[in-house]
Symmetry: C2
Subunit: 363 residues, 2 copies
Amino acid sequence: MTSVINVNLPEQSYEIAIAPSSLDQLGQQMASLKLGKKVLLVSNPTIFKHFGERAIASLTSAGFEVASCTLPPGERYKTLNSIQKIYDIALENRLERSATMVALGGGVIGDMTGFAAATWLRGINVVQVPTTLLAMVDSAIGGKTGVNHPHGKNLIGAFHQPRLVLIDPEVLKTLPMREFRAGMAEVIKYGVIWDAELFAQLEASKRLDQLRYVKPDLITYILTRSCQAKADVVSKDEKEGGLRAILNYGHTIGHAVESLTGYRLVNHGEAVAIGMVAAGQIAVELGMWQKEDTERQNALIQKTGLPTQLPSGVDIEAIIDALQLDKKVKAGKVRFVLPTEIGVVTITDEVPSDIIRQVLRGM
Amino acid sequence: MTSVINVNLPEQSYEIAIAPSSLDQLGQQMASLKLGKKVLLVSNPTIFKHFGERAIASLTSAGFEVASCTLPPGERYKTLNSIQKIYDIALENRLERSATMVALGGGVIGDMTGFAAATWLRGINVVQVPTTLLAMVDSAIGGKTGVNHPHGKNLIGAFHQPRLVLIDPEVLKTLPMREFRAGMAEVIKYGVIWDAELFAQLEASKRLDQLRYVKPDLITYILTRSCQAKADVVSKDEKEGGLRAILNYGHTIGHAVESLTGYRLVNHGEAVAIGMVAAGQIAVELGMWQKEDTERQNALIQKTGLPTQLPSGVDIEAIIDALQLDKKVKAGKVRFVLPTEIGVVTITDEVPSDIIRQVLRGM
């Protein structure tokens, strides 16, 4: 069973195809898009070991000439240096404008491959084949690409939409538990900001802390609803003029926590979970959200095994300072996405620092 | 007298404003665009010494907060390393999404500032204030930005349109003669590919080899007609799907010559001049263009003091090989822009290597 979601954009629309074993259909799916013959597959060593051969076999049998390159795993290698390696291999293999880069991996590989494709010859095709839950429901969709600056996450980047997003839920079987949970943070986010039915389904599920307790049907449901939520929002606001900013729910404080812990102690999903708890409480303090709803949200986060408290040792004033560096800052004012009910959020830059301080102290 | 040319694009249109002393109007012109308060002015040390103070004074008096940075001059510094310096200063000055980078300089500064603006926070505003003839009539218009890869020019880049192009012809007075001539190569190009009247005006002018022999009225005419030609082409084909490729007239072999001489011996305009002579002759050999017209073109190039012959020591086979690396290569076939009459060109990828070889041997 293949579930297909359309991302409709003015310049170029594309499909998100979700189906078990679809990794073996990669070449065939790409062939139907009439892309050039040359493909550069970018991955990390672990993912490449698991799935590289299958991806290459599928591409080759569909007639593509495939070169590949692997980059070291982890957010701290999401740098211009890694991009330079992709450029070098693109040059060696004489990638032309009609060529395609394929990102086989998690968010780091997807963001970097997307950015390299956005900037090689001023833009070539990219296909996203996400292998983590986080990348499947979030980073592989919507065209945000980029790398980190030593002093801030994703400060360097471009908008560059993929030609196809291919999701094979079966590849999640090799995903470490902590990574699975990190992805669930974004899934819960969609429930809070957009899809109350998804939220209710998650609440009704007994366990969400490990993939093996989640039935394949529910996984497909979770992927489909989450991708649909992201596609809905991105289709309405490709370049974050307005609505798209709601996807940053939990990310304002989340990014600060991630950055202050050196992108190591706390991963992105965990940081978003902490950020959602904080944002929920801020909304309660401002009288915008019901206390019961924030408790429902936090219970769901806990059921998934994600943190709901600040990691010890993180300085609250350092978080307040770091917020000023956020990309979402406008005229020095920090923008927050805050829930008003399950499935609905609003955006405000009128959150007093004292409220932020107080909420963080309570965590 | 201000001459204003509109570049009409689906996502964002902008003006090219040409007027003597307009450098002092920079701040005022930008203020009318309702950009954010923060500006990062990027220049090179020589240009900054000549014009930096005036630009900053104009910006400051219009209410902008201005930071500045200078980068070493020359094509060989058009690298990701230089871009990283711009990012560092953008971070230090906390440039937000509403901020603007202003490129005050020639093509190298314009391309790099444009690329930095395209990729900082996934895209902030850029204003182009070109100070060389080449940048005024060509690189500052149309949104092509980028840097060089050690093995190829402009291989890394993005499309990112400026919010404004401000041209002050008076700044050309400090431009070295060789740079003036380099710009004239692109002016002649517009005559050949698009504007027979401009071509005729250039033919009718006694001397074109130094700025001081060209009357201010003619300079304004040259700037206006050239910018109009570029704006016409770019408006019809922003991302080089088809028509825009005609701007590469003279650039196919030109880029190869530039690259093989290490971007030092021959500058961009000189390389384009050589490339136009070669392309013209190829068109004649293929029976597409009149011999008399190619002679008119070459006479104009010579009158401007530009080279019409290959620099000694450049290996013809190396040029043939280098053509394969050109961004314009499609499925291994090199695309050439060839004239069919003065003011009209066509695009073909059916030029036999032997014809290229023969023409280059004759130069």
